[in-house]
Symmetry: C2
Subunit: 108 residues, 2 copies
């Protein structure tokens, strides 16, 4: 599946938040996780800009720790605001995706 970029607008950030919420992790690993989830074209640069935004908006806490196989990693965890934001995101997602599926099935 190619060129999903426009459709990911507004949802990719929530996906990143969900991944961080599942377990403390870092940018490079989040990118690999998204790739294996089926978002094959998502690259590091995209994820880092999202992480910067999340941190700026006070939804995550960051901690730099050394790695044994490369440069230091910047680990992220959700804080309370992040968990609230994530819950809101999923509520919106359920609402929107249900409405779109309705339209698709020709519900009137």
């Amino acid at each position: 599946m190619e060129d999903l970029t426009e459709m990911l607008k507004g949802t990719l950030e929530g996906c990143v938040l969900q991944i961080i919420g599942t377990e403390e992790t870092y940018g490079y690993a989040i990118t690999r996780r998204l790739n294996e989830l089926g978002f094959a074209d998502v690259v590091e640069g995209t994820v880092y800009t999202i992480l910067v935004r999340l941190e700026k908006n006070g939804l995550v806490e960051a901690a730099k720790r050394p790695s044994e196989v490369g440069p230091p990693r910047k680990f992220y965890t959700l804080n309370d605001a992040g968990r609230r934001h994530l819950a809101t995101f999923w509520a919106k997602w359920e609402y929107v995706s249900a409405r779109i599926d309705e339209l698709k099935e020709g519900g009137r």
Copy 2:
């Protein structure tokens, strides 16, 4: 449900295309239809910009016809390119929404 705007990026155009594909219709009516479908905050201006884009990209045909209750209406119908685009849109939607649901259910 409020402020769905970012989540609608990339999908609203497909929704408009689907509505036009179901029956020949015009901007104002499409807006009302979207509102009753649950996209309550979508306004005329947004829909008109989408319609202009669809026409510019050669996905729809337009025909202006008089109305009995107001100014003339501009009716839109899908052409072949529009129908192909719509099919692609739904394929992408199914792919993306399935992946996101997977992530949400904690599938790993």
